[in-house]
């Protein structure tokens, strides 16, 4: 008995197989293409953020690119509020984003305690101003507020300026800080040369420094605010200012 001819059967399945291959190949290529496009787009956005210093304000892009505010440890480094603290007291690192609501709460609860520690030089306060909420909230208020604080730092009023920022944070997260409000903070913080501050703020002189600081902080493993460290150890905040004073006392040599 002859074997049944399979040619018809093969012909019936062959186009379907080919279709599957073509469609499958297309979907695969499209997927890979879209993923690479997204990665490219993301990297492009990120580097645009970190490499475009504001060249306006009379400064050349080259000098603005590495401009470092007074009191910062280095370009892209945190702000040392009381460099005169003696060597036996611990470093108190505070990580805050100007638009972070919990940071405003933190300042309300712990602010006076931190201020007292600074005034007594009982701890060396190092402030890492973060700005990632600009990305989350799709605005630029954190960078502008941070720049305002760094411009105030040039006149020794960084800490006072930041206090104004948190005390006047908008009730609704994402509202941001209008330019004239940032100017009023400079006045209330007691910045002496308002004209110098205004020109520094208009040119966003410390934008590159601010963005570099954000990247450095993220790379160091801090991804959230507020984060508080005493002598390098992250504190668990319970809402009691003694969290900080106890840790500082324990770490004082």
């Amino acid at each position: 008995m002859p074997r049944p001819d399979a040619t018809d059967k093969l012909a019936a399945t062959a186009p379907a197989q080919t279709n599957r291959l073509i469609v499958g190949g297309l979907v695969a290529i499209l997927t890979l293409g879209a993923i690479f496009a997204a990665i490219f787009l993301g990297i492009n956005n990120n580097s645009k953020n970190t490499s475009t210093p504001a060249a306006s304000g009379g400064q050349s892009a080259a000098t603005a690119a590495k401009a470092t505010p007074k009191g910062a440890t280095e370009f892209g480094g945190p702000m040392v509020v009381n460099p005169g603290a003696p060597a036996n007291v611990p470093v108190l690192d505070i990580y805050e984003d100007p638009q972070c609501p919990v940071c405003a709460q933190f300042e309300q609860i712990y602010g006076p305690t931190v201020k007292a520690l600074v005034q007594a030089n009982a701890a060396k306060l190092v402030v890492h101003t973060m700005t990632f909420l600009d990305t989350n909230l799709k605005n630029d208020s954190s960078v502008r507020a941070a720049n305002g604080a760094f411009c105030a730092a040039d006149q020794g009023k960084f800490y006072e300026y930041m206090a104004q920022v948190y005390a006047n944070q908008p009730a609704k997260e994402g509202t941001g800080y209008p330019a004239d409000q940032l100017t009023s903070f400079a006045v209330k913080a007691g910045v002496a040369d308002q004209q110098a501050w205004a020109s520094c703020q208009a040119g966003l002189t410390y934008q590159a420094h601010t963005l570099a600081l954000e990247t450095n902080t993220e790379k160091s493993g801090v991804n959230g605010t507020p984060t508080v460290k005493v002598a390098g150890q992250t504190l668990k905040l319970t809402g009691n200012p003694a969290d900080i004073t106890d840790a500082v006392k324990a770490a004082t040599k």
Binding site: L30, I39, L41, N136, G221, G224
Partner: protein, 152 residues
């Protein structure tokens, strides 16, 4: 209704659930790739640059796998990819929990650090394990009703 038809219909439901969740999760994140990268970094699991690439690429992958599942194309392959994604999510969330991080999984946008006591690791893990099981079912039995697979 035959047993086979019932299983096909069950497969359709599972396919729509898995695909729908992926589609929504991807769509909510794709509009803000920067935030997506931050959410991945908050796990402190991948190096800085790699975490960025994952953050940028993941929402797109989720959307495409979700779409393909919803219309029922290449159900088995798509379910394998979806299952691998869920496995990665389960590992990531477990890592964050074990490490004592206080983050939102960022599964549907958002993400990053949140207040202590606001974490939802058990819920997030339960959901992803359930979706992993769904993907497993579709890998074993990819035949479903109303799928474009049948027309190819």
């Amino acid at each position: 209704m035959t047993r086979r038809r019932r299983l096909d219909l069950l497969g359709t439901v599972l396919r729509l659930v898995l695909g729908g969740v992926l589609l929504v999760a991807g769509a909510l994140k794709v509009t803000n790739l920067g935030a997506s990268a931050l959410a991945v970094r908050a796990y402190q699991l991948l190096p800085y640059d790699l975490a960025g690439y994952v953050g940028y690429g993941l929402p797109v992958l989720e959307i495409i796998v979700g779409l393909v599942l919803v219309v029922g194309l290449f159900t088995r392959t798509a379910a394998v990819v979806a299952g691998l994604l869920m496995l990665a999510f389960v590992i990531g969330i477990s890592w964050a929990w074990a490490k004592g991080l206080s983050i939102d999984c960022g599964c549907f946008g958002g993400g990053g650090e949140i207040a202590w006591g606001r974490t939802a690791y058990p819920l997030e893990l339960t959901r992803d394990v359930a979706l992993l099981a769904t993907a497993g079912w579709l890998v074993r039995r990819p035949a479903t009703a109303y799928a474009l697979d049948a027309r190819l």
